[in-house]
Amino acid sequence: MREEWKGFNEGAWTESINVADFIKRNYTFYDGDASFLCGPTKRTSSIMEKVNALLKEETEKGVVGIDTERETSILSYGPGYIDKDKEIIVGLQTEAPLVRGVNLFGGKRMAISACENYGYKISDKVLDEFKYRTTHNDGVFRAYNDTMRKARHVGIITGLPDAYGRGRLIGDYRRLALYGMDFLIEQKMADKTAYGNKDMTESNIRIVEELAKQIDFMKQLKVLANNYGFDISNPAKNAQEAVQFTYFAYLGSIKEQNGAANSIGRISTFLDIYFERDLKNGVLTEEQAQEIMDDLIIKLRLVRHLRTEEYNDLFAGDPTWVTMSEAGVDGEGNPMVTKNSYRVLQTLYNLGSSCEPNITILWSQKLPQAYKNFCAQVSIDTDSIQYENDDVMRCRYGNDYSIACCVSAMDTGKQMQFFGARCNMAKVLLMALNGGVDEVHGVQVAPKGKVFEDGKPLVYEEVMEAYDKYSDWIAKLYVNTLNIIHYMHDKYAYERLTMAFHDTDPHRWMAFGISGLSVLTDSLSAIKYAKVTPIKDERGVIVDFKTEGEFPKYGNDDDRVDQIAKDITDDFYAKLKKTPCYRGATHTLSVLTITSNVVYGRKTGNTPDGRRAKEPFAPGANPMHGRDASGAVASLASVSKLNYDSCRDGISNTFSVTPEALGKDKPTQITNLTTMLDGYFGRDAHHLNVNVLNRELLIDAMNNPGKYPTLTVRVSGYAVNFNKLTRDKQEEVIARTFHQKL
């Protein structure tokens, strides 16, 4: 065994890349409470002072700075520091903290307009270099057909990653710490030889070329580390190196590409093995261990990409989704909670609450109660973490999956995703009623069909027949559009380093999404159980509805309507599967909106459920604001009816409860929150964002942002600093259902 591995238990992992096996054989389960944790050291606090000043500057100016003189890549910049002498974990994306690089690989116009938004101009040198290069965006628009362009324009499918990096990838960055770069390069070279000896089909040639690109960038990462004074050729020798190497692997990835959600994966229990070894050998104290984790988290909080206004509209609050997953149980039902799982949560106290990294608890009924309680306490105190159900994911993704972005699970380093934004389902219904005409623009987008009559009440069966036809049409168009996007992304903006930390031919998911689920569901319920009469305008387009009578609403545990929500998602997933995906990818579906529920609502006319034109949709799989009127349990029960097997890319539910409604005092609140999470996930539900706060506090924060510099709220699979949301997004968050005491 290698010298760096001394003290570890041997296994399959010593022979070939197998981080999961390493963890399984070496981690130390911790079932105690949080009392061992240490507060911030003076060093940490002094760095945080600098960071907080920079964050304040960023909130005021939008960006602290943009490096417009060069194109971002692994080696574009020299080393950068916050405070060189004090940092334990080093490395920044550019040469100064929070200064953003420019990335033109996704699309030139996007980068130029992003700079202009903040009053910067990309240097002629950089633009010249890109003059004769094809970007991902160029490629996509060469191949889009007219219908795709129209569908994108009217907003029935938008947010597509056709002008920015697709992201939603998780490299297995732990591999660098465990094996060192030389071994990883050797493995990739062996793969290249093996694929090089196969028949040179188009797909084989592509893999061989990708391997060459990966190896090139792996070598560049060694240079980057060297510039910071580290040799990453060999495995990490101690905890500090393990954290540093893991971070270098991640840092190189985000220097190279600006994907929407480059998540860091499931690293805390892996790193704990190194901490435990050092603690046992007496070369590290608990205070130092916490300090190292604090320093890593500071770095992850500083991750930034340069985005345009349109992008920020869809994904508000400048999120980067450095999603960090932890806990869960292994295949035998043993909880994978370690002391380092606690240290990660402790950073929210030591450094203050924060939206990034997006800390995701893989919740299982079998997690130790002490850890559950600490999670609940952190939720109540900081509103910064989210929960996903390990008991439904583990059996589908194995014991070493991580979450990318908000709710997308994948086996770490062995699976990847082709991200696909989402389709506006409320608009699909309106288009079906209008025979393929968009209700806002009045243009024919989908094939011509039956236009429902003015003044004649809608008949449910007839509406469903039309909806069936148009959802079939959009599903096919949606798959084909994504196929073009990912073909071009692989061709022109391949993530060389991120993919180097994946297996060579990983399993690929193609992730579709829907938005407006509760609006569509309640609209269909209104048509079925009440009387809905269309109203046309002078163009002959149905633009409004007269809805008379009562109808059951999604979010009240009423099967009559909840079944509609379930059927819609099952049905849409089945429809997507009819069209094959690029590169043999497997279709998946999410019910997740990020903050696009506001944008989609803005682009959608009046709906039969009574929602007025331009009003926001509910986020993700949430019931519509205020319509879940039977209490939190009924609301959670409704959402839990959606079938995870049809929505394998995640079912997002954002839950807001006032502290008073959760219980009278903190211990009671903690018990009730863990009971609630057990109850919800015990019903095979998938995800829950938890906010414990008062609406009045948010209104005050909207009007007096200076009073709440670090107010964090969970919005839809991620958290944001409330001050960074635009007014319309803040108002939407405030309008959401707050479960409160009666």
Binding site: G631, V633, G663, M676, R683, L742
Partner: protein
């Protein structure tokens, strides 16, 4: 056809009416007319949604995973004991079929014939001790202290645990002397596990406007948190609990 209850509303996630997370059943109808009531829409009898005991048990069964760690059913209102027959049936089945706990939140306005049997299936009684004399009871609630005492006596006989609550309204019952008198009553009952003061608030006033009812406490400010804390710690110092 099983027994039917007249329901005002249901809160599937109640945490303040007893232990754990609870299914709170707000029953329609109340004979009292408390000046500070924040649910005047539960007063009138004969309206509300009829719900069978079967359907309530079925729904609770469906939510059972949320009600572990001591959680269960709380009947409140309105005055739940106006529908005593249904409450008894429900309580029996919550115990035998669901294995969850029962709480009753009562104004003590009525004393049903089957009270002993109901208390047998009750894990906690929340007694609303509104005033410490009959005159105030009559004036502010159209009720009587005697009813409350009678109920407390019943709970003592049956040995069920009791949580006593009093809503404190500025200038009506917010002096130390008032608290002394309340505590004097509470101290007679060793089965009381807690005495809790609640501050008067105005969050239900809009309902009076909606219902076209006159709000008799117009202009009275909510009780301050500081004052409430002060009175509660004074009460605690005098309690024998």
């Amino acid at each position: 056809m099983g027994i039917t209850l007249n329901v005002h509303s249901i809160e599937s996630f109640a945490t303040l009416e007893g232990a754990g997370i609870r299914y709170a059943l707000f029953l329609q109808g109340c004979p009292y007319r408390c000046v500070y009531c924040h649910n005047p829409d539960t007063w009138k009898c004969g309206i509300g949604k009829p719900k069978t005991v079967d359907s309530i048990i079925e729904q609770m069964q469906h939510y059972k995973s949320f009600y572990k760690n001591g959680g269960g059913l709380t009947v409140t209102g309105g005055e739940p004991l106006m529908q005593a027959e249904g409450v008894l049936e429900l309580f029996k089945r919550v115990h035998s079929e669901l294995g969850l706990t029962n709480t009753i939140d009562t104004s003590c306005a009525v004393m049903p014939d089957n009270i002993n049997e109901i208390l047998h299936y009750t894990d906690l009684v929340i007694v609303d001790l509104k005033f410490h004399n009959n005159q105030d009871y009559k004036h502010y609630a159209d009720g009587s202290l005697d009813n409350t005492i009678a109920m407390l006596n019943k709970t003592l006989q049956s040995g069920v645990k009791v949580l006593v609550r009093t809503v404190v309204v500025p200038d009506i019952n917010d002096t130390f002397e008032d608290i002394d008198k309340y505590v004097e009553i509470v101290n007679k009952y060793p089965n009381v596990i807690k005495y809790e003061l609640l501050g008067y608030h105005t969050m239900g006033v809009f309902k009076y406007n909606e219902l076209g009812l006159k709000y008799r406490l117009d202009g009275v400010e909510p009780l301050s948190v500081t004052k409430l804390k002060e009175l509660q710690s004074y009460a605690n110092s005098k309690l024998k609990i």
